[in-house]
């Protein structure tokens, strides 16, 4: 493993009964890299994020973070090691206030140097910190989900379709925030359907189909790749 590889996924498989959602996926994410993950629905992107973040235990293969085997660890332990994630459909702690949502994650972080005020200000949520999280709109809930993840002070952020459902203006704002986080040194794996958004926040992309990687490289090059074209346009 190269010394600057932060996350290494090696031949990971994940099956649900007879359905194989991941079929030997391998990828490396280097320190400081922002890697995109695209593919049609059901291609295994979110399943991969779930395996890395500890929600699913891999059926086979290895997941290493900073050289340490993390495949099969529970999500809280993965979080303590420095990986956190956002959810495609965030479910904030609805009866808690916005501030308390961040505070809960802060209080369980073993490495956080961040402050709730700074996180909420960064995400433009400071003005609504005393509101119940359930009262936020979708875009605000997604930002709060990002705030909850940031509260654990992650070295690596797994971003699962943060752009879905956001207005073009909100997308620009969120892209700028992700880029700012990257400038801080946070490595990212970004699952996204919105290619324009992805182009703003990632360097390279992996294209997945049917639980396998079919392309790795620049997003522009993906559009020229015959396998990718076949998957997205049907040949």
């Amino acid at each position: 493993m190269s010394s600057d590889v932060m996350l290494q996924v090696a031949a990971v498989e994940k099956s649900f009964g007879g359905f194989q959602a991941l079929r030997g996926v391998s990828l490396d994410v280097a320190q400081g890299q922002a890697l995109g993950l695209v593919g049609p629905n059901g291609s295994g992107k979110t399943t991969l994020i779930n395996v890395i973040s500890g929600i699913y235990r891999p059926s086979a293969g290895h997941v290493r973070f900073l050289g340490r085997q993390i495949g099969g660890l529970t999500s809280d332990r993965v979080s303590h090691l420095g990986i956190n994630r956002t959810f495609q459909v965030p479910k904030p702690f609805g009866s808690l206030t916005v501030r308390q949502n961040v505070d809960v994650a802060l209080s369980h972080s073993r490495r956080s140097r961040r402050k709730a005020e700074d996180i909420l200000a960064f995400l433009d949520l400071a003005a609504m910190q005393d509101r119940e999280a359930s009262s936020l709109n979708t875009a605000q809930q997604k930002l709060l989900d990002l705030g909850r993840a940031l509260a654990t002070d992650p070295r690596m952020l797994l971003v699962d379709e943060l752009g879905a459902g956001l207005s073009p203006a909100d997308l620009d704002i969120v892209a700028a925030k992700l880029n700012a986080l990257r400038q801080e040194g946070i490595t990212m794996l970004v699952v996204e359907h919105l290619l324009g958004f992805l182009a703003k926040v990632t360097d390279d992309v992996i294209v997945m189909n049917a639980g396998q990687e079919i392309f790795y490289g620049k997003l522009e090059a993906a559009a020229e790749d015959p396998k990718v074209v076949e998957v997205f346009l049907g040949g």
Partner: protein, 290 residues
């Protein structure tokens, strides 16, 4: 009428105490503990045995029983729940398993205590009735109301004023996001489950007085009543149980005053009505997926 209302409030607080633990464990586990009422029965027999053997005051037995059952609850959680959680259909398996646990506890209680009703007949809470809002009531009803209020207040402080409580509410809202946030799901859930059973045992210590006596088969009916109370309040929202308990208690007392022969149907009727008219409970926001 006023007597029924005052008595209903006191019994409502008591039924909230009986039911709160079931809601707490449902909130964190999303499983209905069908053995919940059996822990009320255990608390009741604990109080009866400690009093008949060593004249331990029921309020002392209440604390001792709740503490012991809290520890047992945590052990039981780690013995059962992590295994259930990894099965393909944890909700269904949990129903079967907790039902089986209920049957085992009841059978053991029958072996040890027999089928006859047992109680504490000495006037440990005095012989003089007390006056509340102009109504003359047995002193133990007032004691029960106060004990229930203290227990409910302690649960409120735990849930809304402690770090553990915030974590517990986070787990209730979203297990996945809570765990990803660094919360040890099993530790938080085990403590909530233990507290839930401890509350049931605490309520049990008052059962010889509030319910007239204890029999080994009392648990099944109490689980049903507790389930009706938490559905009435709000499934998965522990503090909604207080409202559910009060409504149930007042309705029960009104029924016993005006339609006594129908009173035993009350939990089932309320359960059906709430599920038909407002499935999220009278004070709930949404139905939890169980």
């Amino acid at each position: 009428m006023l007597y029924a209302l005052v008595a209903g409030i006191l019994f409502g607080l008591y039924y909230a105490l009986i039911s709160l633990g079931l809601n707490l464990s449902f909130g964190v586990l999303r499983m209905v503990n069908l053995a919940h009422g059996d822990f009320v029965m255990i608390g009741g027999f604990t109080a009866v045995v400690l009093y008949s053997s060593w004249h331990v005051h029921p309020l002392v037995s209440l604390v001792l029983g709740a503490a012991a059952v809290f520890v047992v609850g945590i052990a039981l959680y780690y013995l059962l729940v992590p295994r259930i959680a990894t099965t393909k259909d944890p909700e269904m398996i949990s129903l079967v398993l907790f039902f089986g646990l209920s049957q085992v506890i009841e059978a053991l209680a029958v072996i040890h205590f027999g089928n006859n009703e047992q109680s504490i007949f000495d006037p440990v809470f005095g012989t003089q009735p007390v006056s509340l809002l102009g109504q003359s009531l047995p002193a133990v009803w007032l004691v029960s109301g106060l004990v229930s209020l203290v227990a409910l207040a302690l649960v409120y402080l735990y849930l809304y004023r402690s770090r553990l409580g915030y974590s517990t509410r986070a787990v209730m809202a979203s297990r996945e996001e809570a765990e990803v946030s660094g919360i040890n799901l099993h530790r938080v859930s085990a403590i909530a489950f233990g507290i839930g059973l401890g509350l049931a045992a605490a309520a049990g210590a008052l059962a010889p007085f509030m319910l007239g006596g204890i029999t080994p088969d009392i648990g099944t009916g109490l689980t049903t009543t507790a389930f009706a109370v938490i559905v009435l309040g709000s499934l998965g929202n522990p503090m909604g149980t207080i409202a559910g308990g009060l409504i149930y208690g007042i309705a029960l007392m009104l029924m016993q005053t005006y339609l006594p022969s129908w009173a035993s149907l009350l939990p089932y009727v309320l359960l059906l009505l709430v599920l038909l008219v407002r499935p999220s409970g009278l004070f709930g926001r949404q139905v939890r997926s169980a």
